[in-house]
Amino acid sequence: MQEFLSNLSVYRDAIGQTFYIVLISMAAGGVLGLVIGLALYATRPGSLLASRPVFIALNVLVNIVRPIPFVIFLTAIQPLILAAIGTTIGTNAVTFALSIAAAFAVSRIVEQSLLTVDPGVIEAARAAGARPTSILVTVLIPEALGPVILGYTFIFVAVVDMSAQAGLFGGGGLGNFAITYGSQRYDWPIVYITVATIIVIVQAGQFIGNWLARRALRR
């Protein structure tokens, strides 16, 4: 415990880094994933911008990237990280990789949420003379907002999880703190405090997500 208190500023920095990694990854991955998810939805056969080649290409790409465990993905795309960030270690490198991983996870969630929208309302929007891209933005996203928010909440939890894993790669944040100050020094209170902190962050995120989704669904 004495150890923990003497490292309090490191702990605070670790929390800050975790928030930095998670929030930037959620923002960048969220937007990119939304775009990929919309594209997946819109290009599937019979949909608004049906295009078989584009759909198949996207579908295969998402299916390749998504099942790869994050730590392996992080290693595998090191050349890409190096090219984009200039280094393969540290917080920014991890954030970059995490953004990409989050984007592919989000894309499936977005696609699935959009598929729950009643085709009848799309028909109504088309009958009103709306453009397909306009229907995607002004009809489909609002209609699917509840499931989309819950999906993003799910991904948020996964991103917190992955950010902690990235601690192994010197990515900073709470995972890194738990390893370097906790388990590697056999200081278990630090490990448990870190775990508790992560649980609090996850719970808070889930609570906020549920609350927003309820508002969107008016239930």
């Binding site: 009848g120 309302v121 028909e123 109504a124 009958a127 003379g129 453009r131 609002p142």
Partner: protein, 410 residues
């Protein structure tokens, strides 16, 4: 909200603002439907004239066929519409009736260009839809409202937001949009529900929102796809009243697609009967319903009128009525039944009404009566048979539609 048909200028959403409707032929002034129109649709007349359809037609389908590719590898291609030709005039209510799966929904979706025909042409206000780009078709859709069986309201928007949507699509500015939304909600009687969400409304109210949304851009044409099929009879008649008001007060041409014959009977001026993807009959509501000329149409319409005995009923009737059984179609003429009676009397034929029904369609009688006819010497005797034949011949000579019900087989 009453079903009144008088003009209600205060609730007329098209009142203010100039509008391109003014220069459309045949829609200026009053827009009373023309129930007396009996002319059959003639397509061949204009087949030679490529391009522009005659100004009179609002919607016009020329030999339209729509085939959907086979679903899955084992399936067969589905022909939803097969060589369909029809014409809808400005300002009328045109009903398309048929069983589910008869291609009705495909038909409406061809009219606003949501589907493209496999063969044939679709004209809307003289413009040929299939020759237009998708962009131009979207413009056409903004002048065409559509309502649906399941209402298809946007759950994420309020009632007012739903009605405003087509106006946003058409880039109508905020102040004008608000004015029109208020006027339309007043027109459908839901002004007080403007800020509610669709799930707070009953089915009938949802459809009224659907109608307000469909009328938002002041379209000249309204397509109704089974618009009342999810509603109970009371709500159905309210929605039909509203459609009638839209037609009469706003001059909107309505194409209504339904399997509900009573809906067609209560609102349509002219009608087409769709069976197996083909138009088996079309014409004025009265002509088609009172006197279907094809067996398929008679089968579909007979279900609505229930004026003719079924085979099973006929078999039962024969047990107690040994004479010859004929069914006479009721005509819209003065003293029709008096004339029938005197014909039978003058031939010495006893006529007993054993089945039938007379209803009213567009204020004219419609239906049929089934008689057991017995000659002076009984049904079996040669004199009797001769007298019955003579009476039937006399009736037919007088233009009466007489069908002898076939003797029971075996």
């Amino acid at each position: 909200m009453s079903g009144s048909t008088q003009r209600e200028p205060s609730s007329d959403p098209t009142r203010s603002g100039n509008h391109e409707r003014d220069d459309r032929p045949g829609t200026s002034g009053t827009h009373a439907p023309v129930p007396g129109r009996t002319a059959m649709t003639s397509v061949s007349a204009s087949e030679a004239g490529q391009g522009a359809a005659p100004a009179a037609a609002h919607v016009r389908l020329e030999h339209v066929t729509k085939t959907f590719p086979a679903a899955g590898s084992g399936g067969r291609p589905l022909t939803a519409l097969d060589d369909v030709s029809l014409e809808v005039s400005h300002g009328e209510v045109f009903g398309v009736v048929g069983h589910s799966g008869a291609g009705k929904s495909t038909l409406v979706r061809l009219i606003n260009g949501l589907e493209t025909p496999t063969a044939g042409r679709v004209y809307l206000g003289g413009r040929e839809l299939t020759s237009l780009t998708e962009r131009a078709r979207r413009e056409v859709r903004r002048d065409t409202g559509m309502i649906f069986q399941q209402f298809n309201l946007f759950r994420s928007r309020t009632v007012a937001g739903n009605v405003a949507y087509p106006l946003k699509v058409a880039r109508v500015g905020q102040p004008e949009r608000d004015r029109r939304v208020a006027r339309l909600l007043d027109f459908v009687g839901l002004l007080d529900r403007a800020h509610d969400h669709p799930e707070q409304l009953s089915g009938g109210q949802k459809q009224r929102v659907g109608i307000a949304r469909a009328l938002a851009t002041e379209p000249s044409l309204l397509l109704a796809d089974e618009a009342t099929s999810a509603l109970d009879p009371q709500t159905t008649s309210e929605v039909l009243d509203l459609l009638r008001r839209a037609n009469r007060n706003l001059g909107v041409t309505i194409v209504i697609i339904t399997h509900e014959l009573d809906v067609i009977q209560s609102i349509a001026d002219r009608v087409a009967v769709l069976d197996g993807g083909r138009v088996v009959e079309s014409g004025s509501l009265y002509d088609v319903f009172a006197q279907p000329r094809t067996e398929a149409a008679a089968r579909i319409i007979g279900m609505a009128l229930r004026d003719r005995p079924s085979a099973a009923t006929l078999a039962r009737l024969r047990l107690t009525h040994p004479g010859r059984i004929v069914t006479v179609r009721v005509r819209d003429r003065a003293a029709f039944q008096t004339a029938l009676a005197s014909t039978f009397l003058s031939h010495g034929v006893a006529a007993e009404i054993i089945f039938g029904g007379i209803g009213e369609l567009q204020d004219r009688p419609v239906g049929s009566l089934t008689f057991e006819l017995t000659g002076p010497d009984g049904a079996g005797g040669p004199d009797g048979a001769g007298a019955v034949d003579a009476a039937i011949t006399a009736l037919r000579a007088d233009g009466v539609d007489v069908t002898e019900e076939p003797a029971e087989e075996g």
